[in-house]
């Protein structure tokens, strides 16, 4: 061991020690969040890590930044091995993987180090160019701070350059020091060999070796102070995330309403789960979520990225005070963007909170719960979960919500429907159709095979009632033995839950289960995606387990089995643009059934896709209780979506959700267009034999 080695060992210990203190601190901050079990289903979690993390599945959704980032990421993975070798060799110079690995493997490893250094350098240069010259829109907004990114990118570039140069100077001095597999370094090395004598080259080697090694340690210690903390946390975050499973996608978590607590939902960071807080560490501020957010696109205040960043900022503000952080003198700068709060005394800090001080009510109520942000996020952050928890706080603890929602809550409570319509009118649409209710069937001693759950829209909205009738016709024509609940149907509470009123929701959900169990219902079909999602995915939280099928899937199955008596399709080709419902698509991955059903029933149909389609489809604007709220800021979401659909030039629009139906019909009207909007069941029912 030389003196240099000893100095390096010392530096290494200090650097790693400082880094681990920071890690400990960050972990202690997470612990102020409430517990949330995230360890089950390790195999699903590992698969997510592999697909989303390592294979960068979501990153590739962006055709430009995707490959660029993937190359940097993979490069990092590969180069980390080399880095380890370098750090060990810095202390114990004789160390090399060569002695540990079979020759071929070592050769491949060695070549990869050389190659990836160049690849990463190229990708990083492009990233710098993109940020500084191209200025992609999604990287702006939300008061983002940009120097941090530039520092990080420059550091990475520096790491690659010093790596290549140290190797090259070594080879200039001793051409035999490394195998021929290090093609780039050899090229550079022989170039340098022409320019200087071996002694100078060796001296230069030492300079760049030290520069490289010190840069590694600097980089490591800079990370906890940077938004690029995601370099460390993203894979961990993907592992613990539930956004792509395990568990039911998009299902809101159940709350214990009997808990003796001062506050329900979250108004500050300690009322969020540790996972929500980890999300904060992991956000790369890439803006993919915000760029896909219908509220943000149409000019509302909401930005899901800001929600996550604010969570992190607030954590950084409050956690040191709560944990009595001993390292407070070097506070992570992750709170950047809220300078005004940075110098606050601890009393002031405790006077702030996430709600109001950082995130306003207006932002929270703008969310349509469309899940676009969640699907887009490359590191599996759950922005919506934070929004939902905060809405719960607004409603359950503070009783603060848009005034329009009060009649909705009251109607749900009194009439079992978000609209003040009497339950006695629920089955009004059956007039002249002779559709049996569960009660009637029971009286006759019969039991239907399926329950047709009509839903509140399908029962009360005039346009949606036509969908109900169309679907009933199809069921009839196929000889399905079905019944409805009629007067006994009442909202399962999903709208209340989405609007943060978990208390009302649980009452309604339990009532629903009680009714369904009383009739021993096992299979339910419905044409409302919200009912479909709620009953199939969330009622099990309260012991309601049923097979729930959306009518698009049900019709598609009937068609597949050739059970639907269809007329022979004649007529001209009809171009149709289908609009994906969020609760069908992003919540339940049903994309093909509605499309297939239309094509099967009416083969002359030609489907055209809007630019934003399937899991990237834009919300109609009705979800998350937005149906019941005013939309006063910016452009209307339904107008934005309808324009996009109409721009395809389709002769008709198709939906598979009564809420989308209302929003698009309004959008078409506002547009002055005459293009009809159909539910897929209406298209199929139109093809039934007379």
């Amino acid at each position: 061991m030389t003196a240099g080695n000893i100095v390096f060992l010392f530096i290494l210990i200090v650097a790693v020690g400082f880094f681990s203190l920071n890690v400990q601190r960050l972990v202690s901050y997470l612990q102020i969040g409430h517990p949330d079990a995230r360890t089950g289903h390790p195999f699903t979690r590992l698969r997510n890590v592999f697909e989303i993390g390592i294979a960068q599945k979501k990153i590739f959704r962006d055709p430009v930044a995707g490959p660029m980032h993937a190359l940097i990421f993979w490069g990092f993975m590969v180069l980390t091995a080399g880095t380890l070798e370098i750090l060990i060799a810095g202390v114990y110079p004789a160390f090399s993987f060569e002695a540990l690995l079979p020759k071929t493997i070592y050769t491949v490893y060695s070549a990869s180090q050389d190659m990836f250094a160049v690849v990463v350098l190229a990708a990083v240069s492009f990233a710098l160019y993109r940020r500084m010259v191209l200025h992609p829109r999604r990287l702006d907004g939300d008061d983002l701070e940009h120097t941090d990114a530039l520092i990080i990118l420059s550091m990475i570039a520096g790491l690659m350059i010093t790596l290549l140069l140290s190797n090259a100077f070594m080879l200039a001095a001793f051409p035999q020091a490394m195998g021929p597999e290090k093609v780039v370094s050899h090229q550079l090395g022989s170039a340098f060999a022409h320019m200087m004598d071996p002694r100078t080259a060796l001296a230069r080697y030492h300079i760049f070796w030290w520069a490289h090694a010190l840069l590694i340690l600097a980089f490591l210690n800079y990370l906890p102070y940077s938004k690029h903390l995601h370099v460390i946390t993203s894979l961990i975050n993907v592992y613990f995330s539930n956004t792509s499973g395990p568990g039911v996608k998009g299902a809101m978590r159940s709350m214990d309403l009997e808990a003796d607590v001062e506050s329900f939902g979250a108004s500050d960071v300690e009322q969020l789960s540790w996972k929500n807080l980890l999300d904060g560490y992991s956000c790369t501020e890439c803006g993919r979520c915000t760029a896909a957010c219908p509220a943000n696109i149409t000019g509302k205040l909401l930005s899901p990225r800001k929600i996550v960043i604010n969570t992190r900022q607030r954590l950084m503000e409050k956690a040191p005070v709560m944990t009595g952080d001993r390292m407070d003198f070097m506070r992570p700068a992750l709170s950047h963007g809220v300078e005004s709060y940075e110098a606050a005394t601890s009393d002031e800090v405790l006077g702030h909170r996430l709600l109001d001080s950082y995130i306003t009510e207006e932002e929270l109520w703008a969310c349509t719960s469309c899940r676009a942000c969640v699907v887009e996020c490359p590191v599996s952050i759950d922005q919506l979960d934070i929004i939902n928890e905060m809405r719960r706080n607004l409603v359950l603890t503070e009783s603060r919500f848009p005034a329009e929602l009060q009649p909705v809550f009251e109607s749900l409570e009194r009439n079992g429907s978000p609209w003040a319509f009497s339950a006695a009118d629920r089955a009004g649409w059956t007039e002249g159709l002779d559709i049996p209710t569960m009660a009637q069937m029971r009286e006759r001693g019969e039991k239907p095979d399926i329950l047709f759950w009509v839903g509140c829209m399908g029962s009360f909205d005039d346009r949606a009632k036509k969908i109900t009738v169309a679907f009933a016709h199809i069921l009839r024509a196929c000889g399905i033995n079905f019944a409805i609940l009629g007067q006994e149907e009442a909202c399962h509470g999903d709208p209340a839950r989405r609007m943060g009123n978990e208390y009302l929701y649980q009452i309604l959900a339990k009532n629903t289960i009680e009714t369904l169990d009383r009739y021993e219902v096992t299979t339910i079909v419905t044409h409302c995606p919200h009912c479909f999602h709620q009953m199939g995915n969330e009622l099990p939280q309260f012991g309601g387990n049923y097979e729930v099928i959306h009518h698009s899937t049900y019709i598609e199955r009937l068609l597949q089995d050739a059970r639907v008596p269809l007329r022979s399709a004649e007529g001209q080709k009809l171009t149709v643009a289908y609009h994906d419902s969020c609760y069908l698509g992003r919540y339940n991955d049903v994309y093909d059934a509605p499309r297939q059903a239309m094509k099967r029933a009416l083969p002359v149909i030609e489907l055209i896709e809007a630019p934003r389609t399937k899991d990237r489809g834009l919300c109609c604007g009705a979800g998350g209780g937005r149906m019941f709220m005013e939309e006063n800021t910016g452009k209307r979401i339904n107008a934005e979506r309808t324009e996009e659909l109409l721009a395809t030039g389709a002769a008709a629009l198709a939906v598979a959700c009564p809420f989308c139906m209302t929003m698009l019909t309004d959008g078409v009207k506002a547009n002055g267009s005459e293009v009809p909007v159909y539910d897929i069941s209406e298209i199929v029912a139109g093809q039934l034999q007379a």
């Binding site: 001062e262 603890t397 009783s399 006695a424």
Partner: protein, 250 residues
């Protein structure tokens, strides 16, 4: 301020009503009962007055069987401090009989203000509040659409047909509340939990003798089915004629 609010529990106004077999009551099966709408405005008005005054006590009263306790609890979940349940098998349709029970109870309460809804949805009579005021010998505003209190003096607005009175009155007083005054708040879960621990006193209602009784209840004749009377402006004369002679709204 010490404010009392007297309320009634009534079925939801959107319900479809059926007459019970006795034909002197409605069929209550399937009906949802809740705090009467106007009583809700009164509770909210009371809470806001005390919030503005920065203190005081708000107490709710209801006459009726045990199920009114649920409604009293709801008021407490909105922020009312305590409740008094005046127990009776049923609420008589005779408003004076009810007013006597309330007056007997409120007489010694020491209230600065006693609020009522302007009427209850079910009986739609609007007697109890004003009659209680008379029995207590207090000034009374019937159906106030605005209400404020400053020191010992109240101000109110009251709608007349096509005009409005601006009124002033000394406290203590009775005010029955019309729609415009305040929209009732939605109780938070926190409020619901807190209400479970608030005091509820139960005592028998000292109702006066009932001299008004329900002899019969019936549903009004079905509204004739809507009809399209014509197309374009040619149909206007017919429409105006119908509005005058059939609907009698002109």
């Amino acid at each position: 301020m010490k404010i009392a609010v007297c309320m009634k529990r009534t079925p939801d106004s959107e319900s479809r009503f059926k007459i019970a077999a006795s034909s002197t009551a409605i069929d209550e099966t399937g009906l949802k009962f809740d705090m009467d709408d106007f009583a809700g405005y009164a509770v909210e008005a009371a809470l806001q007055l005390n919030e503005k005054a920065g203190g005081g006590e708000t107490v709710v009263y209801a006459v009726g069987p045990d199920n009114v306790q649920e409604t009293l609890r709801k008021a407490m979940s909105m922020g009312v401090d305590r409740a008094v349940h005046l127990k009776a098998d049923a609420v008589p349709v005779d408003g004076i009989a009810v007013a006597k029970a309330l007056a007997a109870e409120l007489k010694t309460g020491g209230y600065d203000l006693i609020l009522f809804g302007k009427h209850a949805f079910d009986s739609s009579a609007g007697v109890v509040g004003t009659a209680t005021a008379e029995l207590l010998g207090l000034p009374c505003i019937t159906a106030a659409s605005q209400l404020s209190v400053d020191g010992g003096t109240g101000s109110a607005r009251r709608e007349l047909e096509g005009a409005a009175e601006i009124l002033s009155f000394p406290l203590p007083a009775v005010v029955t509340i019309d729609e415009g005054v305040a929209r009732p708040r939605y109780p938070s879960l926190k409020g619901i939990m807190a209400a479970k621990k608030k005091p509820m006193e139960t005592k028998p209602a000292q109702l006066g003798s009932a001299r008004v009784t329900i002899q019969k209840m019936e549903l009004p004749p079905e509204r004739p089915a809507g009809r399209i009377i014509g197309e374009g402006s040619a149909a206007v004369p017919e429409l105006v004629k119908l509005l005058q002679n059939e609907a009698k709204v002109l």
